[in-house]
């Protein structure tokens, strides 16, 4: 790739055009007649929205609330404490995606355990932890397999390869979560205000979007599968508001350059071979039926929960943190009395302040904890098109 080309990322930069964004916003202003509340499901979308200030650019009638789509944030405290108990063992090398390291458990986080001598390693891909297992036959390598459907094919492949290649010292602590049951749960909540959804583009890259069709119909809500660039988000909002204004409730695909209705069948096949659907507890939200994946029985030799007997753990959440309400879209980060004060990315009280995909962390990173005058001043100097390249 030439130097010149490297400054322009095809399929990315054209979806950040300020001129086009202004036109989409103009069109939104033209068609909107009354207030609507939309939820973006995915943490990556939340990040784009806050980074580019999209929520502030929309007509006043359109409110965006942030959904539960940050995998690190919704991993239950019990599971995190379990991970800590396993990581503490001297015979274990504990592998995790980087954003899990700062997530507070009841007592500490993985980074603190690492500083106390635990062998905790950050990996980019679950496949990297398999390599660590091959290189350290005398150790037990445990990978913290968290994530939504997007991450399931990668984690499934690691387990599959471990079995195929007889890598016996490799296991996974599985805490996978699924989006459709979470959307249904939000819609059934008496506190729910959400009238339309920007669906998770990358989850649907794997799973397709057929399973969203019965939800749209049952709850009478439009669901628009949406991408992650600013123009994707704006078009997703426009498509959702168009449906709402017309009284429609359909599943539409804003992101067809990546998402197909059937999803990625090759990936689904392996995910189904390795994982089985189970009930799952979400941090801050509670237990949601059939909202997770667990390892199938055939893979029990790679199941860290089975291999490492972990005692019942007495979990403790900080009482001030409202991350549960933030994850359900009931509250926004700045509604929390601790936001930007006791709770900052350096000292997070809840998981939503840790991961880059967490709503609180995104609000903090882009200055939403500063006072309103400062924010307005900052906004006047900020354009839709980023200039950080």
């Amino acid at each position: 790739m030439s130097k010149r080309e490297s400054f322009f990322m095809k399929y990315i930069d054209e979806y950040r055009s300020e001129a086009l964004a202004q036109k989409v916003i103009g069109e939104l202003r033209r068609i909107v007649t009354r207030p609507w509340v939309l939820m973006e499901v995915c943490g990556g979308q939340t990040h784009t929205i806050v980074k580019y200030g999209i929520d502030h650019l929309l007509p006043n009638e359109v409110e965006l609330v942030h959904g539960p789509g940050c995998p690190v944030c919704v991993t239950s405290l019990e599971m995190i404490d379990k991970a800590h108990a396993i990581a503490r063992r001297p015979d274990v090398i504990f592998c995790s995606f980087g954003d899990m390291l700062r997530v507070p458990g009841s007592a500490v986080d993985l980074l603190v355990l690492k500083s106390r001598g635990a062998d905790v390693r950050v990996v980019y891909s679950p496949i990297d932890s398999l390599k660590i297992a091959r290189a350290n036959p005398g150790k037990k390598i445990v990978f913290f397999a968290i994530g939504f459907e997007t991450t399931a094919p990668g984690n499934a492949m690691a387990v599959w390869q471990a079995r195929q290649q007889g890598i016996k010292n490799f296991s996974v602590l599985v805490s996978h979560v699924l989006v459709p049951p979470a959307i249904a749960s939000i819609l059934q909540s008496p506190l729910n205000r959400v009238q339309g959804f920007l669906g998770p583009g990358h989850v649907c890259t794997v799973m397709g979007y057929r399973e969203y069709e019965p939800i749209a119909e049952r709850f009478n809500v439009p669901i628009v599968i949406t991408g992650f660039e600013p123009l994707d988000i704006l078009e997703g909002v426009l498509m959702t508001v168009r449906q709402l204004e017309a009284g429609k409730a359909q599943v539409q695909n804003q992101y067809p350059r990546v998402v197909k209705r059937e999803g990625n069948r090759v990936a689904q096949e392996l995910v189904n071979k390795v994982f089985d659907v189970c009930d799952r507890k979400w941090r801050g939200v509670g237990s949601i039926p059939k909202s997770g994946y667990k390892l199938r029985y055939e893979f029990r030799d790679h199941d860290a929960e089975r291999l490492f007997e972990v005692e019942e753990i007495d979990t403790q959440e900080p009482s001030i943190c409202i991350s549960g309400l933030v994850l359900k879209g009931v509250k926004k980060p700045h509604d929390c009395p601790a936001f930007g004060k006791e709770c900052k990315p350096e000292h997070p009280l809840g998981a939503t302040m840790v991961s880059a995909e967490g709503a609180c962390a995104a609000y903090y990173a882009y200055g939403r904890h500063l006072d309103l005058e400062n924010r307005l001043a900052a906004r006047r100097g900020v354009s839709v098109t980023p200039n950080e390249q």
């Binding site: 790739m1 989409v24 980019y124 998402v259 090759v266």
Partner: protein, 64 residues
């Protein structure tokens, strides 16, 4: 496995889930796995729709 170029950074990625991919294609990668080939026609179509809408908006609301 194959090599993917992320705007200048080259990494090995697993191509098991995208058997249709050829050298030079654009792919969506997550945790080291290519999950989809970016569909060039659909990408062009989405962008064209946005541009057409922009032109329409200009005609209808000259004061925006």
């Amino acid at each position: 496995m194959g090599k993917a170029n992320f705007g200048g950074i080259v990494k090995q990625v697993c191509l098991e889930y995208t058997p249709e991919v050829n050298a030079g294609d654009y792919v969506l990668v997550h945790v080291g796995f290519a999950l989809a080939k970016v569909d060039e026609e659909e990408a062009a179509r989405t962008y064209q729709l946005l541009e057409e809408m922009a032109q329409l908006a200009e005609l209808e609301t000259p004061d925006v």
